[in-house]
């Protein structure tokens, strides 16, 4: 295929205007001996062949069927109206709203997004989005380092392993130490926060699904003069206490659960919401409300002096392109569901997850339910965890994120349910697990 419109006459007309004889001539500045390399690519395809090819690739994936996968990404109900509105081509094919007069669509939607995120987290100021939950967490740690001028960060092992990995990547070059606090066994125990700690990072619910004592952790962080960074599942905030309520300084997380498809892990968006006093150290774009020359309310990118295009090497972050469209999906989705709908999704998720645990127990299995959880919990298994996931997949069930060895829980998988799970899906899962002999897990895990 070709997307450029030029006919031979067009090319001739342009070349004549420019005053060169050929397109090749326009590339005279290029090193001659390096020009026109052999590029090892297949020839182009027409659209029908291309779609055949893409459909053949897609057919090598399996989707659908009972779904109990979690680990931070869940396939919640997304009403049809959400992608319909968010993916209007005016939004999809615009870029950063540098010209506010003709970008009120994205600017206002972002202002609405910021407002919703403040409400959900109970904090004061939201930026326009970050890349994902993991990078937002890393940026929050950097903010804490800048704000406190300290160079140690504490993170609970309950924070998603991938998030901790990203934290490590971001902190290492700046010489910031990262201390990992163990779980005992399913949640973070009382924290001892030394006086040189810039920020404490705790995830709620934690990676294993269990609820942390956020108020206590926040108090411990604050007692040491550290910032409290809560990593939260935004959907859970329709139900659970918001970071603002327990005094966290920064709320970060991944927005996928608010209305983005799983999309094999990306794109979704990261969010970051902070207390007002952290505004000066805050990374990322922010939209503000103002008026135009006629006195009309209007929205505009503001406080840009924090950003790379103005502050360059002294910017609060290097972030430029963010994840606006994914944040817009969430904005529209929250608008579509409203507070009651969002709460229904959260309650339904909790109900289904607890029902699943009860069924597993009834089926002779031993899910770890000694700590409270929202949407996810650990099931010890009597065989290799990744093997359980594969065997379930062969039976048409998507379930069983393996629990990493670092948690010291033996072979175990995470199980999660959303409001979409039906009773028969649970029956299928429990049946399959029993059939596979995983029911012996009770003995193995607790033995």
């Amino acid at each position: 295929m070709r997307y450029h419109p030029h006919t031979p006459e067009d090319v001739a007309r342009a070349l004549e205007a420019i005053g060169v004889a050929s397109i090749e001539e326009l590339f005279d500045d290029l090193p001659h001996d390096l020009r026109d390399p052999e590029v090892d690519l297949p020839p182009g395809m027409d659209e029908a062949a291309l779609l055949d090819h893409m459909r053949a690739l897609a057919a090598k994936n399996s989707v659908g069927g009972p779904d109990f996968l979690g680990g931070g990404v869940r396939r919640h109900f997304i009403p049809s109206v959400t992608p319909h509105l968010a993916l209007q081509s005016e939004f999809v094919t615009a870029y950063t709203p540098y010209q506010p007069e003709v970008s009120q669509g994205i600017l206002q939607a972002t202002f609405e997004y910021q407002s919703m995120m403040c409400e959900l987290t109970g904090l004061d100021v939201s930026n326009a989005s970050m890349y994902d939950g993991a990078t937002a967490t890393a940026e929050a740690a950097l903010l804490a380092v800048r704000q406190t001028r300290r160079d140690r960060v504490m993170v609970s092992r309950g924070v998603h392993p991938e998030t901790r990995a990203v934290l490590a990547t971001y902190l290492h070059p700046l010489g910031v130490t990262l201390d990992v606090i163990d779980l005992d066994p399913l949640t973070t125990q009382r924290l001892e926060v030394p006086g040189d700690v810039a920020g404490v990072v705790v995830q709620q619910p934690n990676f294993l699904g269990y609820l942390e004592e956020m108020a206590a952790h926040t108090a411990a962080a604050h007692a040491a003069g550290a910032l409290m960074i809560a990593v939260v599942d935004p959907l859970s905030l329709a139900l659970l206490a918001p970071p603002g309520a327990y005094g966290a300084d920064v709320a970060v997380g991944d927005g996928q659960t608010l209305g983005n498809p799983a999309s094999y892990g990306g794109p979704s968006f990261g969010f970051m919401v902070v207390k007002e006093e952290l505004l000066r150290q805050f990374p990322g774009r922010i939209v503000g409300q103002t008026t135009d020359v006629d006195g009309k309310r209007a929205f505009v990118l503001t406080l840009q002096a924090r950003e790379q295009h103005i502050r360059r090497s002294r910017a609060k972050s290097n972030i430029c392109t963010n994840h606006q469209l994914a944040a817009l999906m969430a904005t529209v989705n929250v608008g579509a569901l409203g507070p009651q709908g969002l709460r229904d999704v959260a309650v339904g998720t909790a109900e289904r997850s607890h029902a699943l645990a009860a069924r597993l127990q009834a089926g002779g299995m031993a899910p770890r339910t000694e700590a409270r959880y929202f949407s996810e919990f650990v099931l010890p298994v009597s065989m290799e965890a990744a093997g359980v996931r594969s065997e379930l997949a062969r039976r048409g069930i998507h379930a069983g994120v393996p629990v990493p060895a670092e948690y010291g829980l033996g072979e175990a998988v995470l199980l999660s349910a959303t409001e979409r799970v039906r009773d028969e899906d649970m029956a299928a899962l429990v049946g399959a697990l029993s059939d596979m002999g995983v029911a012996q897990a009770r003995e193995v895990a607790h033995g």
């Binding site: 870029y95 799983a262 505009v300 409203g338």
Partner: protein, 485 residues
């Protein structure tokens, strides 16, 4: 006319929109503990589905976009985003990142092939698909350079990253995030890196040089091999900011020019949509000597199977969760396979043709071109003496055309950075020239014309000082007398 309402102002207590499954009877307090529940419901909009539709449909109408408007934002490569990409992306959107890899072989194969395609296109040896945007790719790249120097025991010695003064802001910001000092080198009168200054800046403390080529003035750095040799001789590595790859696709490869690391903005050259500010994608590729440092995971092929390789002990680690912006990888792959080798090469040819055509035409109507030579995919112009670029930009809005990038690069006064891309027709370029001509004419006739432009947009010039001085960054409930507050 009244203010356009924010969604909260359309809200009424108790109104419902889309309805999810109704939860079964459940004692939520008992289950999660009342101490863990929130006390007050978040104040979220309560609107009907139709009111929601009206709101976001009308907002879409208050937004310029490539699909409705010419959008020659320099450095951003606002080219046509093919609809077939979206069709292809939908085929993959329900995959879960933790599903068993055996059940996602199509997705893994696509990523594997894309890693190889990008390596072939750029002349690099290995690619990571992780980074989420250009700046994020820069960070991954510079961190790999850092790991490389550390692995050679030169981590402490090399404290500096060189960037040209015309560099994009993300370059110095990235270097700083990676723990480096930034050393700027000036631009010479031809618009390229000043070689003497570059040589002077180079030394054993330099970890890397970050270059964009063609650079942000749209000019090809003709001394690129000299620059590369100088850097390499000093033990520094060369970083390629791929934002401008559209100019040289299939013509010359960063890897062949001597670059050690490259990031690509798939949302520029490879047509993944810009989404009103993102998500982008910033794939990063390296020469073999840096392969071990690539962020995890990397997709490998073992026999007939595609696997997720996380076990890479020398890796800089993870840049983000999961595999990257997978949805956009599908789009970019679709685009690359649609065009194929020849098609990609035609992209750069026509992008450069269009940009040069526009440069010549703008000069004809009185705009100044500070570096007046054959440019690549974009060029930097200036308004006629005495006029402000901002005013020209605002006046263009009334013509239904998006302005160029303004005031960048910072090294050119009143810079107008124009990148038409290859997907625009000459007629569109002519219309742009004609609009600019009319703007100059009207400005000559009416001294107030420019300062008050635009006239026809949904809102007009904004009070940006007020926005920053008295920041209102979220909806103020009940403070505006709005019915929904």
């Amino acid at each position: 006319m009244a203010d356009f309402p924010v969604i909260y102002e359309r809200s009424r207590p108790g109104r419902r929109g889309a309805q999810p499954p109704r939860p079964r009877e459940f004692d939520i307090e008992a289950a999660v503990g009342s101490e863990n529940l929130r006390e007050e419901a978040p104040r979220l909009p309560e609107v009907s589905e139709l009111d929601l539709v009206r709101h976001y449909t009308q907002l879409a109408h208050r937004q310029f976009s490539i699909d409705a408007n010419f959008y020659p934002l320099g450095s951003c490569t606002m080219k046509y985003n093919p609809k077939v990409n979206e069709e292809a992306a939908r085929l993959f959107q329900d995959l879960h990142p933790y599903q068993a890899p055996e059940t996602a072989q199509g997705a893994l194969q696509l990523m594997y092939e894309l890693q190889n395609d990008l390596a072939a296109i750029t002349g690099m040896d290995a690619f990571s698909l992780q980074p989420a945007a250009g700046a994020h790719g820069e960070l991954a790249g510079v961190l790999m350079i850092r790991a490389y120097h550390e692995s050679r025991g030169e981590g402490d010695q090399r404290r500096v990253v060189i960037v040209p003064d015309s560099a994009h802001g993300t370059n110095p910001a990235t270097a700083a995030m990676a723990g480096y000092e930034v050393r700027e080198v000036p631009t010479d009168p031809s618009g390229e890196v000043d070689l003497a200054a570059f040589q002077a800046a180079m030394g054993p403390d330099v970890a890397a040089v970050m270059l964009t080529n063609p650079n942000t003035l749209g000019l090809f750095e003709r001394k690129i091999r000299k620059l590369a040799d100088t850097a390499h001789a000093a033990g520094a590595l060369l970083y390629y900011d791929g934002a401008n790859l559209n100019a040289i696709l299939g013509r010359v490869r960063p890897g062949d020019m001597g670059f050690d690391v490259v990031h690509l903005n798939l949302h520029k050259t490879f047509t993944t949509p810009h989404g009103g500010g993102g998500p982008g994608t910033g794939r990063v590729g390296v020469k073999a000597k840096l392969r071990d440092f690539l962020p995890v995971p990397v997709i490998e092929k073992r026999g007939d199977e595609y696997v997720i390789d996380e076990d890479r002990p020398r890796s800089i680690g993870r840049m983000r969760s999961h595999f990257g912006n997978f949805g956009n990888l599908v789009r970019a792959y679709t685009y690359i396979r649609a065009l194929g080798r020849e098609g990609l090469r035609e992209v750069s040819g026509h992008a450069v043709l269009n940009a040069n055509y526009l440069r010549v035409k703008l000069k004809e109507i009185g705009f100044r071109v500070p570096f007046d030579r054959v440019n690549m995919h974009e060029f930097v112009a200036q308004p006629p003496e005495g006029m402000r670029t901002l005013d020209i930009a605002k006046a263009l809005l009334d013509f239904g055309m998006h302005p160029m990038t303004v005031y960048f690069p910072l090294t050119v006064k009143e810079a107008m950075m124009i990148e038409p891309t290859e997907t625009e027709s000459l007629e569109t370029l002519d219309a742009y020239v004609d609009a600019l001509r009319q703007v100059l004419e009207r400005a000559a006739e009416d001294p107030d014309y420019l300062a008050n432009a635009p006239y026809e947009t949904p809102v007009r010039r904004l009070d940006e000082v007020k926005a920053a001085r008295q920041p209102v960054l979220r909806h103020r409930f009940g403070e505006q007398g709005a019915p929904g507050s």
